[in-house]
């Protein structure tokens, strides 16, 4: 069964550094998402992406965050200047469209030192 793939599984970065989290959605999917889960808390929506542009973003997704789909297969989340509070599990998800379940990747654990 096709899967959403996320790399790396664990990223350790110094505060203030830029980090890029990578995702390869399922190949025929059209809608892409990033979610975040701070340790011990619920999963929160960050951003949705369709047709090469952001569809919706949450309050968390401020100017230090950006997403892009550079080559038609990868979907990336960039955090420009990381803060301690960015430490979390980041999940990528994709779906074919309306009424179809979102498929999640295994997540990237981001640790900011």
């Amino acid at each position: 069964e096709p899967e959403v793939t996320q790399t790396p599984s664990h990223q350790v970065t110094q505060m203030g550094q830029e980090v890029i989290l990578r995702c390869v959605p399922i190949s025929n999917h059209l809608y892409f998402y990033w979610y975040r889960q701070i340790l011990g808390q619920k999963v929160e929506f960050l951003v949705s992406f369709y047709n090469n542009e952001i569809s919706e973003k949450s309050e968390i997704f401020d100017d230090q965050f950006s997403v892009e789909r550079p080559d038609g297969s990868n979907f990336t989340l960039k955090i420009r200047s990381t803060k301690l509070e960015d430490s979390a599990m980041y999940f990528c998800a994709s779906t074919l469209g309306q009424g179809v379940t979102q498929h999640f990747g295994d997540g990237t654990r981001l640790s900011i030192l």
Binding site: V43, S48, S55, G97, V100, R109
Partner: protein
């Protein structure tokens, strides 16, 4: 705004017994989808079961079933014949707007389920 509430932060059940996890939600939409996701210690997000709001019949997946009460906005998960591998955090989740492709999932805070051998 839509909300999802899980009032049981933790639950325990004896192996082979049945347990029910509670979830309530609030929405003004008539068309939506509800889900239960399982998150084991590895922290993957695994879809357990989903329910379309327009369907009156409760969804079932092997040992997992739901009790969907649309008028009461209640969506509980029943796990029968509990197994040690069922130990995990369980999240109740909601997508509104007919489940349109650009709709976000709204998650509850989760219920940690312990299975006692």
């Amino acid at each position: 705004a839509q909300t999802v509430t899980q009032s049981q932060p933790e639950m325990s059940v004896q192996e082979a017994e049945t347990v029910t996890l509670s979830c309530t939600y609030d929405t003004s939409e008539s068309d939506y989808y509800l889900f239960w996701y399982k998150q084991p210690p590895s922290r993957q997000m695994i879809l357990v079961i989903r329910q379309e709001a327009y369907k009156q019949q409760n969804a079932t997946e092997n040992r997992f079933s739901v009790n969907f009460q649309k008028a009461a906005k209640s969506f509980s998960l029943k796990i029968s014949d509990s197994q040690l591998g069922d130990a995990a955090m369980y999240f109740c989740a909601y997508i509104g707007g007919g489940g349109g492709g650009d709709d976000k999932i709204i998650f509850g805070k989760g219920t940690r389920l312990h299975i006692l051998p």
